[in-house]
Symmetry: C2
Subunit: 225 residues, 2 copies
Amino acid sequence: MRLSGKLRKESARDYALRVLKENIISLELKPGTPISENELAAELGISRTPVREAIIDLARANVIETYPQKGSFISKIDPKMVEEARFLRQITDTAVTLEACGTIEGERLREIEENVALQEFYLDKGMTDRIFELDNRFHKLIYIAVGKELIHEIHSTLMIHFDRVRNISVETVKDFKVVNDHRAILEAIKAGDKEKAAELVDKHLHRYKFDEAVIRSQRPEYFKQ
Amino acid sequence: MRLSGKLRKESARDYALRVLKENIISLELKPGTPISENELAAELGISRTPVREAIIDLARANVIETYPQKGSFISKIDPKMVEEARFLRQITDTAVTLEACGTIEGERLREIEENVALQEFYLDKGMTDRIFELDNRFHKLIYIAVGKELIHEIHSTLMIHFDRVRNISVETVKDFKVVNDHRAILEAIKAGDKEKAAELVDKHLHRYKFDEAVIRSQRPEYFKQ
DNA sequence: ATATGAATACTTGTATACAAGTATGCAAGC
DNA sequence: GCTTGCATACTTGTATACAAGTATTCATAT
């Protein structure tokens, strides 16, 4: 597992949660991998308690599966979970984007513009690693701009199902049309064109749907069924 | 606080979580009330650990606010949280109901029919206590019927913001038009009338929006601002 | 060779101990 | 009366101890 150091003023629980999320999404922790509370605590240099609390958080969204007295495991990719996450993201992103149309301005708008500009910059330079982070940040900024940050927070753990598949997609098919999508969505928001924005969000999220068949054939051991 | 006994095969954590949820929604634990992990553990006859784990779960959705080394408190009613919960419920209920239109049948449909019949029965008898439970169950059944149970589960804690206000509404305005709403929604689903269903869901959830001004004037001490 | 069973080394769930920060009350001093 | 400061009794965060269940391994008996 990949360990980044514990940040100052970050609690042990937040540290464990952050490291777990990073490694699950990046597939450093492969689907099906057993997770021992004791072992992870030792690796992170903290005690079982905060590690356990982080695992409980992930287990609530079925990202980790815990079987009492048997063990905990990184959940294998379950197409039903991925679809639930995609479905939820579809409807909330659409609704939030509609609210954003014509209402975002000032500093909030500037942040989003900067974000998209950076995506285009890194895409141009071929530094695609940065784009994932910027992608997530792009969508989060829209949620914040329309005052729906709690919804974004509540959904974040569930979206690991989705993000993980997205990461495999990139490992395998290398598709960066998403940057163009983001640009187009931003322009639609600025223009206040709700119909166009909704259509773009819909198209944007359906990109990840197609990849599943490809991934499954390449990494069948990652899948539940 | 109201204590129901610990169920057989229910873990201590689930017990604490269930009792806390019940008492927060019913307003037995009033907004602003301090919650001590030690005290609650003693009341429930379990140790701090599972109590703490339950509190963490509720704190994640801002239902409880924890200040390290100071204390934890039942969150006061925050109109922004209530609106986020209502907004989320609006869009997911609508999307799920649209999927349900014309696709639910057999045992699944029968369960929902029975649920609505019971609501009408208890409304008629004036046993309105039962209706809250049936109300929640009605909506959950629809989520299950279209295979979106994880979304329902993930949202359940956040909906406490909404359910709590709904409960005050009933204490104060006694409005049971919701039963008629449920009947109408069910009929629209059976008829496969998506337009009608979406309109009904929209109207249904907006009922609770109006009550806020009334509640605020009656129970200002429950509100954050 | 095969089946049986006990020892062992794990697992998570729960309880408890300790650490460190905070609010409160009260007494002392001015 | 008012302020200061310390003792005290809380709080949550973290670490550790104990309980109970499970899988494995290896020796023994058939």
